[in-house]
Amino acid sequence: MSTIIATLGTGRARRLRAALTVLLAAAVAVGAPFYFAPFQVFQLTMVLLYAVALAGLNLLVGFGGQISLGHGAFFAAGAYTAAVMLDRYDTGHLATLPVAAAGCFLLGLGFGVPALRLRGLYLALVTLAFAVFLPPLLKRLEPVTGGSMGLTVDKLQPPAWSGLAEDQWLYLVVLAVTAVALLLARNLLRSRVGRALLAVRDNESAAEVMGVRLSLHKTLAFAWSAMFAGVAGCLYTWVIGFVSPDSFSFVLSITLLAGLVVGGLASLYGPLLGAAFVMYVPSVSQDVSEAAPGVVFGLLIITVMFVAPTGLAGLPGRVRAAVARRLPRRAPTSARTPEAESAPDGEPEPDAESGPESLAESGPGGDPESLAESAPDAEESAAASAPDVSPKSPAASDPSATDTPADLAVADAEPVGAPPRTEKE
């Protein structure tokens, strides 16, 4: 397989393949609502709107290295903004989207300013407290929010000329918004802001020395991320037509984070996989027992962080690398495979060169090949920041190896995987 990739992997063939992939994906995505049953279309719609929230969370967690345990609250804020506008002011659906987005952006700025001035986990604490506080607050503001009964509003209706059923129209609208949101997230990451964010994640001190304003970029990332969650919340109101405080409990925030981690941190299509996870795992495992989704999520998160820190999205790359290591080495193929795992000593891997290239090649706009390409690249960067778990875990599972020098070195060298990343700046 890797040979095929190698042959296709250059020049026009590569771009052609990319264009074909995108066309195919778009055709499948647009065709889906005409093939599946209404309930399945509804589920797919939910997957798409969760993907928007996860793409936002990914900006913050995967690329920004900050943690939010309260994205469910921003989701709720977006959903309620839309619901209240529809319920009290009868503004029409379209107007609610920009208001929800802007409102959540500002809310994110407000919480980000105190929480992100400092290093560490204060953002996680603040967002956690906010997520726990919001449902009782919504219940209290009964005159506006309808209290614990919630608000029922009109779903988005298909225009008469389209001849579409409600579920199909909703799906297509959400699909369009999701596509725009994912594209926006991708472009944001390729901009100056995105590069600054990556630098901050990988080595705050180094980034600051290079002139990146830490608190500004972290706060902006958080605000963007809150905005995405707010947009997803707004779509939720369009699709479900009902909001209540209990739909947005703390569990939602935790589930979103769990979905993102399992789907793949710092990967561009990880949010989509994660969203499918958020949607389907609870509904499938709920049949087993009320507690089953939690058990599955909890175990998966820990397992993913131990063995596959890049999540589902990074899995193909890791498997390819593992396979390539076992195969006899052929010059062109082996040079292209990411060898992150085989470099526990933090040596810059051979593939590290392809990272900056795919980041810099934002020239051919909308080139989806680089979308796929940046998966191994994202894996590199994730391997640089999040993990170095994988190399260490085998050592740790052996009790006698606990006090090895490798363990010792960890104590003072904190940004272990930083060197390969800093090359790019």
């Binding site: 345990l69 939690g294 909890g298 175990l299 999040a386 260490k392």
Partner: protein
Amino acid sequence: MSAVTEFLQQVVEGLGSGAVYASLALALVLIYRFTGIVNFAQGELAMLSTYVAWQLVASGMPFWLALPVTLAVSFAGGMLVERIVIRPVQGAPELTVVIVTVGLFIFVNALAGLIWSFTVKDFPQPFPDGGLDLAGVRVDWSTLGIIGVVAVVMGLLYLLFQHTAIGLTMRAVACNPASARLSGIRVGRVLMLGWGLAATVGAVSGVLVAPLLFLEPNMMGGVLIYAFAAATLGGFDSPVGAVVGGLFVGVAETLTGAYVDVVGADLKVGVPLVIILAVLLVRPQGLFGRAAVERA
């Protein structure tokens, strides 16, 4: 009842719940000192310990025997968690470790639901009914008992850290793991010990709060938020700060609930949010914490 006694009454009740927050905050701070990790699963581990205690009592063991057994189980459990879940990611970036503790949070919460179901359970009140009457202020035995137990735990911890050889090695590891290892301390074992201790202290808070809140898998979620506020206020690296912060948060919560009409009982959970935000804006290192100095 005069306004003053009414006020004092609220303060006493605040101190009672504050003592519970203090002990969970202490558990958080212990782990933070040793490993630099904020353990988001601390409350859930405490909840699991409380279920162990409940199970023991339900199977006929007297409470005051069940308590030491529970604490011993929690100690062992904490050590196991460190060894199995945390050690593999020790030294990995903060993000990885936090996500792992969040995963542990979800897992433990659901596990308790799986084993004991999500129905609320009555937890026996270990302290007798009634209380003292101090100049019109009524102090329940249970409030006194909670404060007393937490004080004893703190005293024991102080003795352990300041006056035993184990305590000395533990402080050495907290201070500088690399040097500690070079001078022959088995850092891994000390970290296990630290997690065991933290789980024990957390278990105390769970057992104390269970009769008030009723036992169910989500019992400690709220308490955890208050404990975070307490630790932030006191400073994440200061055990004394955790205790002072816990008491302060408890009193602030009760007084706000009683005297600020807008807040009332349902919005009290906003108090920790406000406290965390205020501390971060005014004195980010907390009352007793040391400001972090960045070294590249």
